[in-house]
C-alpha cells in the first residue's frame, strides 16, 4: 500500500518536474531530450538519487511501447501530400542511407575500439538510424517552419529508418551469438519478408482501423483509446507473424491519419499527450539505466565514433542517397546535419544485452555517448543552422487562439473563433480599418463573456473573442490578423522575398526594373514559367533561383502552379544573427509571456453563440 502510493507520488512528481524543466529548456534552446535524460541520470546510481536500476528487460519493454506510440503519432500527423512529395528521397535515406552510415561508423568503431568486424558493424547499425521522436520534437516543438521538401524528407526518413536499423541490429546480434559469419541469402529474404509483412499489415491495419473508428458508435472519449488499441494490436500482430512492427505501426498511422476520422481532433490531442509521456518516460528510464561511471573508459573512442558519425558518415550517406534527387546544396547540408539520434540507438543497444552477447555493455555505452553528443551538438544548433542555410520559412502566426467547428459537410465555409492576441494587427487598428479576406463575415464579438454590439465597437482589444464565418483557405489570413506573431524578435524574415509579383510578370519587366541579367531570347518568358523550368522536381513554397543580385522565390502556389513570385534583394548584412543581448531579451520576454496566467476562455459561451447563429450562417452561404 505504502509503496504503491510512493510510486504514484514519485511518478507524478517526475512528470511535473519534467514538464516544468521542459518549458524552461525550450526557451533557452536546450534540447528537451537532454533534460529528461539528465533527470534520469541525477536520480540514477551515480547521481544524488543513488537508485541502482539495471532492469534492461523492463526498459526494453517500455521503450518498445513508447517507440510504437511515437511512430503511430508521427504517422497520424504526416499528410499524404508530404509522403507523395518525398517518398523517394526518404526511402533512399532510410534504407541505403542507414546501411552506408552503419558501414562507415562501423569502420571507425573497428579502428577505435579494437573490435571484430561483426561487433563493429553492430555498433554502426545501432547508431545508424535517426530518431523519429527527436526529429518530430525538434521540428515541431521548436516551431521551425522548414521548407516543405526538407522538413518532410527528414520526418518521413526518421519514421521509416527505424525498422531498417532494428533489422540490422537484430540480424547482427544473432550472427554474433551464432558465433560465426553466416551472411547467406537468408538474411536478404528475411529482410524482404519482414518489411513486406510489416508494410502490408500496416497499410491494411490502417484502413481497418479507420473503418472501425468511423463505424463504431462509442462514447467519444473512447475513440482515441480505440485508435491506440488498434495501433498496439497492429504493432504486436506484425511481430507475431514475423513482420516489422515499427514499420507496420508507422504506416498504419499514416494511412489512418489521412482518412477522414470521426473525433479526429480528439484522437490527435490524445496522441499528442501520449507521445509526450512516452518520450519523457523513455528518455528518463534510459538516463536512469546508464551508469555514468562505467562510461569513463569508453569515453574517448565513443566520442570519436560520435564525431565520425556526425561529420563523416551521415553527410556522406546523405550526399550519396540524395544524388538522384537534385536537392540544392544548402538543403543537403541541412538534412545531413539534422541526423538526430535519440532513444532508438539506446533501445537498439539493449538488444545485444538481452540477447546475451558477451561484453555487450560497450554497445550501450557507445550508443549513450553518441546520442548525447548528437542531441547537444546537433539539437542545439539546428535552429541556427536552419537560419544560416536559409531553409526556414517565415513563421506562421500561432493558431493557438483559434477554435474551429466543422459545420455540415457540403458547406464551403466553416465557423471559426479567435481570441484576439496582444500585439496582433487586429488589436492595433480601429475595427473599420481591418481588411477582412473575401467572403468572410464576422458574426459576433464577445468581450468579457458578453456579446458586443458591432455598432458601438471601435477597436478590438486583446482577449476579445471573434466568431467569423469564412472559407477554410482564408482562415490563415485571419490567424495573421488576430494572432500574435510567433517570434518575439519582431522582424519578418525575408525568406519569401522583399517584393511580390504575379507569376505572369515577364522577365523583361523585372530585368528592366532591377538590372537583372536576362538573355534576350528569355525576355518574353514569364517569371513563373522560368522558375518552373529552373527548379527540379515538384516545386514547393520557398524554392528559389538566383538571378544576378536577387533571388526569385516561389511565394504562393495553387493547384501545383506558381501564383506569386517573391523577389529578394541580397544584401551584405544577410545572415547576421541577433546578438547575445537580444537573444537574452527574447528569452526573458518569452518566459514572461509563457508564465503569464492566461484567463480561461469562455468556451461554452462561444459555442452557444455559434448555435444561435445557425440561421444567418445558412443565409450567408449564398453570397
Amino acid at each position: 500500500m505504502e509503496l504503491a502510493n510512493q510510486i504514484i507520488f514519485f511518478a507524478g512528481a517526475l512528470l511535473l518536474v519534467s514538464i516544468i524543466a521542459g518549458l524552461l529548456s525550450s526557451r533557452i534552446g536546450a534540447p528537451l531530450l537532454l533534460v529528461f535524460i539528465g533527470l534520469g541520470m541525477l536520480i540514477g546510481e551515480d547521481g544524488p538519487g543513488g537508485i541502482a536500476f539495471n532492469d534492461y528487460g523492463g526498459v526494453f519493454f517500455v521503450a518498445s511501447l513508447g517507440l510504437a506510440i511515437i511512430l503511430f503519432d508521427g504517422g497520424l500527423r504526416t499528410p499524404m501530400a508530404d509522403v507523395r512529395l518525398v517518398w523517394a528521397p526518404s526511402l533512399s535515406l532510410a534504407t541505403l542511407g542507414v546501411a552506408i552510415t552503419a558501414a562507415i561508423t562501423g569502420l571507425v568503431a573497428m579502428l577505435t575500439l579494437d573490435l571484430g568486424v561483426v561487433e563493429s558493424l553492430l555498433i554502426g547499425s545501432i547508431v545508424a538510424s535517426t530518431d523519429a521522436a527527436a526529429v518530430f520534437l525538434l521540428l515541431h516543438q521548436r516551431g521551425m517552419d522548414l521548407k516543405k521538401r526538407v522538413g518532410a524528407t527528414l520526418e518521413v526518413e526518421s519514421g521509416a529508418n527505424d525498422p531498417m536499423a532494428v533489422f540490422l541490429t537484430v540480424t547482427l546480434a544473432e550472427l554474433l551469438i551464432a558465433g560465426h559469419g553466416d551472411a547467406s541469402w537468408s538474411v536478404l529474404t528475411n529482410f524482404f519478408l519482414q518489411m513486406g509483412m510489416g508494410a502490408a499489415l500496416g497499410i491494411g491495419g490502417g484502413y481497418a482501423l479507420a473503418w472501425a473508428i468511423n463505424r463504431m458508435e462509442l462514447a467519444s472519449g473512447l475513440y482515441p483509446v480505440l485508435a491506440i488499441a488498434g495501433a498496439l494490436f497492429i504493432f504486436g500482430g506484425a511481430h507475431f507473424v514475423g513482420g516489422s512492427g515499427f514499420l507496420a505501426v508507422y504506416l498504419a498511422g499514416i494511412v489512418a491519419g489521412n482518412q477522414r476520422l470521426r473525433a479526429n481532433q480528439l484522437i490527435h490531442r490524445f496522441h499528442d499527450g501520449l507521445s509526450w509521456v512516452s518520450q519523457i518516460v523513455m528518455f528518463f528510464l534510459l538516463g536512469l539505466l546508464v551508469t555514468p561511471s562505467s562510461l569513463v573508459p569508453d569515453l574517448i573512442p565513443a566520442g570519436l565514433i560520435a564525431l565520425a558519425l556526425i561529420f563523416i558518415a551521415r553527410p556522406l550517406a546523405v550526399l550519396l542517397c540524395l544524388l538522384p534527387f537534385r536537392f540544392p546544396r544548402e538543403e543537403r547540408l541541412f538534412i545531413a546535419w539534422v541526423g538526430l539520434r535519440g532513444a532508438v540507438p539506446l533501445y537498439l543497444a539493449i538488444i545485444p544485452i538481452l540477447a546475451g552477447v558477451t561484453g555487450s555493455l560497450i554497445y550501450f555505452n557507445v550508443a549513450f555517448v553518441v546520442v548525447l553528443t548528437s542531441v547537444v551538438l546537433q539539437g542545439w544548433t539546428v535552429p541556427w543552422i536552419g537560419r544560416r542555410l536559409d531553409v526556414q520559412l517565415p513563421p506562421v502566426p500561432e493558431t493557438a487562439g483559434r477554435l474551429d467547428l466543422d459545420l455540415t459537410p457540403g458547406m464551403d465555409r466553416d465557423l471559426y473563433g479567435w481570441r484576439v492576441e496582444e500585439g496582433s494587427t487586429a488589436a492595433q487598428r480601429p475595427f473599420a480599418q481591418l481588411h477582412l479576406p473575401r467572403r468572410t463575415r464576422v458574426l459576433a464579438i464577445l468581450r468579457d463573456g458578453a456579446l458586443l454590439p458591432r455598432e458601438t465597437l471601435e477597436r478590438l482589444l486583446p482577449e476579445d473573442q471573434v466568431l467569423a464565418l469564412c472559407p477554410p483557405e482564408q482562415s490563415i489570413k485571419l490567424d495573421r490578423l488576430f494572432g500574435r506573431p510567433r517570434s518575439r524578435r519582431e522582424r519578418t524574415p525575408s525568406t519569401l522575398g522583399d517584393f511580390a509579383f504575379p507569376a505572369a510578370t515577364t522577365l523583361a519587366a523585372l530585368a528592366d526594373t532591377y538590372d537583372l541579367p536576362v538573355a534576350k531570347h528569355m525576355r518574353e518568358q514569364t517569371v513563373g514559367a522560368y522558375l518552373d523550368e529552373q527548379l527540379p522536381g515538384p516545386i514547393t513554397i520557398g524554392d528559389r533561383v538566383r538571378m544576378g543580385a536577387v533571388d526569385l522565390i516561389v511565394r504562393e502556389m495553387k493547384g501545383g502552379n506558381i501564383v506569386t513570385v517573391g523577389l529578394r534583394l541580397i544584401s551584405d548584412d544577410d545572415g547576421r544573427g541577433p546578438g547575445l543581448r537580444v537573444r537574452l531579451q527574447e528569452i526573458v520576454g518569452d518566459l514572461r509571456a509563457r508564465l503569464r496566467i492566461v484567463p480561461a476562455r469562455p468556451k461554452p459561451a462561444a459555442s452557444k453563440t455559434a448555435d444561435a447563429n445557425v440561421v444567418p450562417l445558412r443565409k450567408a452561404q449564398g453570397d
Partner: protein, 154 residues
Amino acid sequence: MEIVELLNVDAVVPNMKAASKKQVLQELAARAARLTGKDERIIFDVLLERERLGTTGVGNGIAIPHGKLPGLPRLYGMFARLDTPVDFDAIDDQPVDLIFLLLAPETAGADHLKALARVSRLLRDKGLCEKLRGSDNRDALFALLTEPATSHAA
C-alpha cells in the same frame, strides 16, 4: 549603404494626407519633384508603372515605392508618414501608413538594389515602425530612420 546617404531631413514628411493609393503616389511625386528638380508627371508615371508590376506594399502597413528616373544625379530617398492609413493593395491586405520612396538614376544598377535592400531591412523592424508611427516630428523621425543599424536590432 546607410540610410543617411539616401535621406535628407527635408525629405521626411511627418503627416502626409492622402485618401487613396493614387493620391499617395501623386503627393509623393509632387514632393519628389521639388526635391530633385525633375518633372512631377514623369516621377508619377515611373511609380505607377512599378505598382502595375506588383504592389510595393510589403506588409505591416509599410510601402516602398521605387523606380528609376533618367537624368537623376544620385539616389533619392523620401519618407512619409500618413495621418490615416490607406489601402495600398499590400501583400497582407492591410492599409499602409509608412512609406519610403526610393528613386534611382538609370545607371545606378547595384547601388539601387543595395539601397532598396537596406530600406527593406530597416522597415522590417517592427519596434522601429511602432516608434515611427508614434511620432509626427520631422527631426525625431529623421533621427529614428538614420540611427546606426545595430541599435534597431533590439
